[in-house]
């Protein structure tokens, strides 16, 4: 029983991490039609910033905030400097993000080395928490809590604010939004900032979860982010959340009860199967 609980909590914790990555990706692709390959880089930037802060005397909460802030700034700079000028050239936009996704981990590698750097985990978060007889590491709970908060914040933003309304409409029909006199590019920057913040938060929390940061963390998490986005429906935050839970749980349980590695494989096969059964994706935006 306690194994099941532990697996569930770990699966949910991983799912939470994926959600933080995927929510931004989903909105960015849904609104802007940009497959943001630089998203992993934003995650890494957040991770390293948080690590740097935590290693230099910031308390963990401040380090977290710092990491998220730096990542958000990076995301906005990326959008304004690289993405916006390539408006109307969607393929070039994607390629530009590929370039950034290549360059940034290399830069991080150059500055801080390619090896993983230990993340200073504060004592209170390093222990375990007893849930239903299982000793669950506290960091799982932190991740799940963070993801739930972000999910709530996003739903409120999308459903209750005018900017969120613009984003929701833009995901459906960008051209019509401009035809109503709304400058949709402002929404782009906003969505990129939100995505960057979520990714950077994910990176900062990943340091906590894995106990270390390294330059390739971002890219490996990015792949799962893409998988979840495609499964959950592009532009749908709730869909992404649901997909993340499924993916996280399947991965953990499959990895434990079968030979290791099958869990990751199972996720990937799920994606392929889903796309073949419903080629247009869950929101009809893919084919």
């Amino acid at each position: 029983m306690s194994t099941v609980v532990l697996l569930t909590m770990t699966g949910l914790g991983l799912g939470a991490l994926y959600f933080l990555v995927a929510s931004g990706l989903s909105l960015i692709f849904g609104l802007m039609d940009v497959l943001n390959f630089a998203h992993g880089a934003l995650l890494s930037v957040g991770a390293y910033a948080a690590w740097w802060g935590a290693s230099n005397g910031f308390g963990y909460p401040l380090a977290l905030l710092f990491g998220t802030g730096v990542g958000t700034v990076a995301a906005v700079a990326l959008e304004l400097g690289l993405i916006r000028p390539l408006y109307q050239r969607p393929r070039e936009q994607v390629l530009a993000t590929v370039g950034v996704g290549l360059a940034v981990p290399a830069l991080l590698s150059a500055i801080w080395g390619a090896d993983a750097r230990t993340f200073p985990v504060p004592g209170v978060l390093a222990g375990t928490f007893t849930v239903l007889g299982a000793a669950v590491p506290v960091n799982r709970l932190v991740l799940i809590g963070a993801a739930l908060l972000v999910l709530l914040a996003l739903k409120l933003f999308l459903g209750r604010t005018r900017h969120g309304l613009v984003v929701r409409a833009g995901v459906e029909d960008r051209a019509m939004v401009t035809a109503l006199g709304i400058d949709v590019r402002k929404a782009f920057t906003l969505v990129f900032a939100i995505g960057g913040a979520a990714a950077a938060l994910a990176g900062s929390l990943a340091g906590l979860y894995f106990g270390s940061v390294d330059p390739t963390q971002g890219s490996s998490l990015l792949i799962f982010g893409f998988v979840v986005v495609v499964m959950g429906g592009l532009g749908s935050v709730s869909g992404a959340a649901l997909a993340c839970v499924v993916v996280g749980l399947v991965q953990q349980f499959a990895n434990y009860y079968t030979t290791s590695g099958l869990g990751d494989l199972a996720v990937v096969v799920m994606l392929a199967a889903l796309l073949l059964v419903r080629p247009s994706g869950l929101t009809g935006r893919l084919a």
């Binding site: 390959f37 070039e92 996704g101 150059a110």
Partner: protein
């Protein structure tokens, strides 16, 4: 024919002859290469450049000629490498037999996965190819039954004697050159054929091709299998060159680097992907070598840090090219001509 036209038609053949003679030359290319051009180290690097130039050309068959964005091309390259390596090392097959099976593996795999992936188009297709490649990568890394060597890769034993040893580097170089010529010829021939014209139509506007009564699916599959086969062949050549198979070759990063090579050089052009592949490979190896040397270590930190990471430079260069030079390096002459006119 005028002298100019003659030069235009025959310079590739001339270039080929020059390239074939390289192992006999001792010309030093300071800065570009570590030793004289005919030395084993330089030949090895050149051979790698040629292989990746060919791989990029094959990849551009999908991207630049048919408009298919695949994130899983590495899988077929890896299939060639790993299948051949496994048969050589574990099953003790002779090289040619192993290579034959490796090539077959590439054909079968690309046909199978291609037929499935092409049922979706656009981003969906890109994602499915990514998923399949990721699955392959995971499979290789988890090392089922201990055969693939996991994260460290699998060094090949049982390679033919003419392929092993530093004194035979020239042989490997010539094989790489032959592979490049084969790829270029195959791609050119296919692109110029009636099938190639349909590919062009598909890239331009798939719906219009359908209206003409053709089913794009079959044509896209042909492109996919051809590119996959060429990639598998490249994998076999790569195995010879490096003496082993590594899981890095299965990663999505590998396919992304092919994408970078193609765009850098100029997608959809005859020589662009080759140029991009050569440039990228050279930069990656040469700069990594320079970084270790005294020249860069002595530079101030602000310069040393970025220069020590070839991927950083390549990434930045890539972004610049995407932004300012959409035709890639191959498009440069045309742009310069236009600017002068």
């Amino acid at each position: 024919m005028t002298a100019f036209a003659l030069r235009r038609r025959w310079w590739p053949a001339l270039a080929l002859v020059v390239l074939a003679m390289v192992p006999y030359s001792a010309v030093p290319l300071p800065g570009l290469l570590d030793g004289p051009i005919g030395s084993p180290g330089s030949l090895q690097l050149l051979a790698l450049c040629l292989v990746f130039g060919a791989l990029a050309t094959g990849y551009d068959l999908l991207l630049g000629r048919t408009g298919l964005l695949s994130f899983g091309h590495a899988l077929y390259f890896a299939a060639g490498t790993y299948a051949t390596d496994l048969l050589l090392t574990h099953a003790g097959l002779g090289f040619w037999a192993a290579a034959g099976v490796g090539l077959l593996a590439g054909v079968v795999l690309s046909a199978l996965l291609g037929s499935v992936s092409l049922r979706v188009s656009g981003i969906g297709f890109a994602m499915v190819t990514l998923a399949f490649a990721q699955a392959g990568s995971i499979l290789v890394q988890r090392d089922p039954g201990g055969v693939t060597g996991g994260e460290e890769g699998l060094a090949a034993t049982g390679l033919p004697s003419w392929a092993v040893g530093i004194q035979h580097t020239a042989n490997l170089y010539w094989i790489a050159l032959a592979y490049l010529v084969l790829t270029l010829a195959a791609v050119q021939w296919a692109v110029r054929s009636p099938i190639g014209r349909v590919w062009e139509g598909i890239k331009e506007n798939e719906r219009r091709v359908e209206v003409l009564g053709l089913r794009p699916y079959g044509f896209k599959l042909v492109a996919f299998v051809l590119a996959g086969t060429l990639a598998a062949l490249g994998g076999i050549v790569y195995l010879l060159l490096t003496g082993g198979a590594t899981p890095q070759a299965t990663s999505s990063d590998f396919t992304l680097s092919l994408l970078v090579m193609v765009v850098l050089g100029g997608s959809g052009t005859r020589w662009g992907p080759l140029v991009g592949g050569v440039l990228y490979t050279w930069a990656q190896h040469r700069l990594a070598g320079l970084a270790g040397s005294g020249t860069i270590a002595g530079l101030p930190t602000a310069l040393r840090v970025p220069l020590s990471q070839p991927l950083f430079l390549l990434g930045v260069l890539f972004v610049i090219v995407v932004y300012a030079l959409p035709g890639g390096v191959a498009g440069l002459p045309a742009r310069l001509r236009r600017a002068q006119a």
